[in-house]
Symmetry: C2
């Protein structure tokens, strides 16, 4: 399939976003957004680095490429609107595979009312997909990881470790309960966009998405905000059937497992009730997992308290794309 054929195939017949002036079909797309701030993020998936065809169908590859970007938009407290996609695809992929990738992208886009406004596909030696996502947020309401303050409540949405558990199952023939749930969490991650888009009523909230494990994201908030975060390990929410895994697996996956795409953040105690109401309204599981305190001598750290009340420093280790 040549470039031209592909872009015609993926061109939407109907666009969802009213701010769009011109979609696919000219040198570039045009949109108008005078009321809100514009949010942009780019993310790249490469075969063999970020995913393997052994456990991911073309549909999943497409779906996850967009979901990872939507997660970055959500982590800004914003709502996604548009995406542009660049696909490098080897000759070994059939037109049907390419169509599968597109169906996955399209399915994730549909779930978030997003429009594809630019695309480029080129043949190359290995599959890689770079997505740029564009979202909108009320002026001055973009949420940064740098605004956590001592006294804040630390919270997380959903359950952690599911994606890592799903990845484990996809590479294993063992008997597991709840297999479909975990595998779906890995291959078709659901993003907390609806929740994120409702956060505008809060005065202040620090926010990060959990793409590289909570240990990593918590350290990013601590560094950016120059504070210390304390997490009580027993409070980290996991699915009931998570108990089927070994203690070591549970520990590693919930702390360092990547790509859960849940949200980690902090709010003042005063605003906790507002946040809880937003969570209820958007049917988002929300859990207090710790608190924020001031750092001694600029030593910004994340402290993990285990079930025996022992404190250890939680480091940024664990999941990296390269070491997988």
């Amino acid at each position: 399939m040549d470039e031209f054929a592909f872009i015609n195939q993926v061109k939407q017949s109907v666009y969802r976003q009213s701010s769009l002036v011109k979609g696919v079909g000219d040198d570039a797309a045009v949109f108008r957004q005078t009321a809100q701030d514009v949010i942009t993020a780019v993310d790249t998936l490469v075969e063999g680095v970020h995913f393997s065809r052994k456990v991911m169908d073309p549909f999943h590859i497409g779906f996850r490429s967009l979901a990872a970007n939507v997660s970055d938009i959500a982590a800004m407290g914003a709502v996604p609107a548009f995406y542009l996609v660049s696909i490098v695809i080897p000759e070994s992929y059939s037109d049907r595979d390419l169509d599968g990738i597109y169906q996955g992208l399209s399915s994730a886009a549909s779930a978030h009312h997003m429009d594809l406004i630019g695309g480029d596909t080129v043949s190359g030696g290995e599959l890689s997909i770079a997505v740029t996502a564009i979202g909108f947020v009320k002026k001055e309401k973009a949420r940064y990881r740098s605004v956590a303050q001592p006294g804040d409540i630390l919270f997380v949405t959903g359950t952690l470790g599911d994606s890592a558990a799903g990845f484990h199952m996809l590479n294993s023939n063992g008997y597991y309960t709840d297999r479909a749930h975990y595998e779906d969490r890995h291959r078709m991650p659901q993003i907390r966009s609806h929740f994120a888009g409702q956060l505008e009523s809060l005065n202040r909230v620090a926010l990060n998405d959990i793409s590289d494990g909570i240990a990593n994201e918590a350290n990013e908030i601590a560094d950016a905000s120059q504070v210390t975060l304390t997490i009580e390990e027993e409070r980290i929410p996991v699915r009931t059937s998570f108990a089927q895994f070994t203690a070591e697996q549970q520990h590693n996956w919930k702390l360092y497992g990547g790509e859960d795409f849940e949200l980690l953040g902090s709010v003042s105690e005063r605003e906790w009730d507002v946040l809880s109401t937003i969570a209820e309204r958007t049917q988002t599981p929300l859990t207090k997992i710790g608190y924020v305190s001031s750092s001694e001598e600029k030593n910004n750290r994340v402290i993990l308290i285990d079930r025996t009340d022992k404190s250890t420093q939680l480091l940024k280790k664990g999941y990296t794309h390269r070491s997988r």
Copy 2:
């Protein structure tokens, strides 16, 4: 170099665009643009498909990646402002090579007062660079290829065939005059941003950038506008030293040579003087090369009239990325 180190290295200490609210450093970037429409385009370069290291240094690869995108923004009559870049880089590239790519991107960005607001670098089997460029244009003044009308004057900026000639020279040891000029046109294309950004005062102008040869771009305008374009071959502007090439080379390069990144467009006779003034003010060579007429029975075509007054249909053939 890991992802984190790279993004820190490329992070600008000072941003040029006043509309930027938050640059690199959080989950996504934020900008605010209430006065103008927003333009976005994505373009991907892959080693071995779009360029070869034999003739392109890492600096040139970076420079051209961004330039190709800026050209798409210019082709909308818009001014570039931001870019996001996704780089897949093989282990065989050193940190110094990666730095060279960045320097090339950065140099092109500087020339157009653009800010890097998002980046992602991942190791992979072959070098590919996907750039998303974002620009701004006065509301309702984005320029489409679909608005050419019978009676319009067809124009082109600069000279054509230079990039193809440069590519030929870079692969040849022969003696040529003006070698540096042609090689530069291929490796460090200059984009008509300044000219494009001044077109707002025109009521109507159809516009395309010449990335795949004028034959291709003219057909795109004819199809999108449902008109017939007539081009007089002898009027197509070429550099004086272009005469050193064979007649066949000249013919092929100026009609089908890719990546000159000049602008092809059409305006009404009434607005020709306004356009000429903009060209003078921005020191942009501007040449009338033909005219637009209505298509008989929806048969939208491009007619080429040669020096002997013979007419032939100019087809969309020639340069494609794949066949190179």
